[in-house]
């Protein structure tokens, strides 16, 4: 085994390990987080980067071949498609009227923030943003 393959293999293994770590962290977050919208954070970000890193590792392992070009297309597509589908799911849930989970001590902070916010009218913190939308089954699952 020559030195170059050794370095390539080391780099591949390192990238794979980091990618799989992010993927596992995202999965744990996906199971642990208390509400639907927080789970979107875990899946939308960690899966994108985890997969990107693992596929980059496989490109490093495979070298410059047609297979690598295919994997490169795959990475580009995932980078475009994963945030878009995350956004689509979040929009669907928000349209149905699923309300975000709030921790107990954050309500006062939100009101305080609305009162003396610096950029006027630009940044109103909407604690009751489900208002005006169909909110009939907001209890259907956080």
């Amino acid at each position: 085994m020559s030195d170059t393959t050794m370095i390539t293999n080391m780099l591949t293994i390192m990238l794979l390990l980091v990618g799989v770590f992010f993927m596992l962290a995202g999965t744990i977050g996906f199971v642990r987080f208390p509400d639907f919208y927080s789970r979107m954070h875990a899946t939308g970000k960690c899966d994108t980067l985890g997969e990107g890193l693992m596929l980059v590792a496989l490109i490093v392992y495979g070298g410059a071949t047609f297979v690598s070009v295919k994997i490169l297309f795959l990475i580009t597509f995932i980078l475009l498609a994963n945030p878009t589908s995350t956004h689509a799911i979040a929009k669907a849930a928000y349209d149905v009227g699923l309300e975000p989970w709030r921790s107990f001590d954050s309500e006062e902070v939100a009101w305080l923030n609305t009162d003396n916010t610096g950029n006027t009218g630009n940044a109103s913190n909407t604690g009751n943003s489900g208002e005006g939308r169909a909110g009939e089954d907001g209890g259907e699952g956080r």
Partner: protein, 160 residues
């Protein structure tokens, strides 16, 4: 039927065919020529809709924007991993809305996807020019409302 768009689409589709098939004998290349003709005929008016001027500058600026975006994605992942793995789970979700200054559809899509990929924020909805963003805690929401990313996107798409 715009013949220039048709030829451009044909070349792009055929290049994709050659890259993905990776066979260069006469049967595969011939099938690629025929299939690309059919696909280009069907889709040549979808690919180039409403591209304005300065396309090259925008593309170059977008490529220059990518490293910063990747850096932000890495930060976002470390952030989410920290929040998911810490026993106290320090999250305090909230929905924030703000008005954007961007006008083009592509620019808004780029901003929405960038928001989703950067630390602590996910785009929920875009109604006209108002973004509904879900932030996982207070600090990411404040960072977003400063509008640094919006200015970068505006610079990329030459709307500043």
């Amino acid at each position: 039927m715009n013949i220039k768009h048709f030829i451009a689409t044909y070349i792009i589709v055929f290049a994709f065919w050659l890259l993905l098939s990776a066979h260069f004998d006469s049967f595969h290349v011939g099938a690629g020529i025929i299939c690309s003709l059919v696909v280009a005929y069907g889709t040549h008016d979808l690919l180039f809709t409403g591209t304005g001027n300065h396309t090259l500058t925008k593309t170059l600026r977008f490529i220059a924007y990518l490293p910063w975006l990747i850096y932000q994605i890495v930060l976002a992942n470390i952030d989410v991993a920290k929040r998911a793995l810490s026993p106290r789970m320090p999250i305090d979700p909230r929905v924030v809305k703000f008005k954007t200054i961007l006008r083009g559809d592509v620019a808004r899509t780029a901003l929405a996807n960038s928001i989703t990929l950067t630390p602590g924020t996910v785009t929920i909805d875009i109604v006209d020019d108002v973004f509904y963003v879900h932030a996982i805690a207070k600090e990411p929401a404040d960072d977003l409302l400063e509008g640094a990313m919006e200015r970068r996107i505006a610079h990329v798409f030459m709307e500043d």
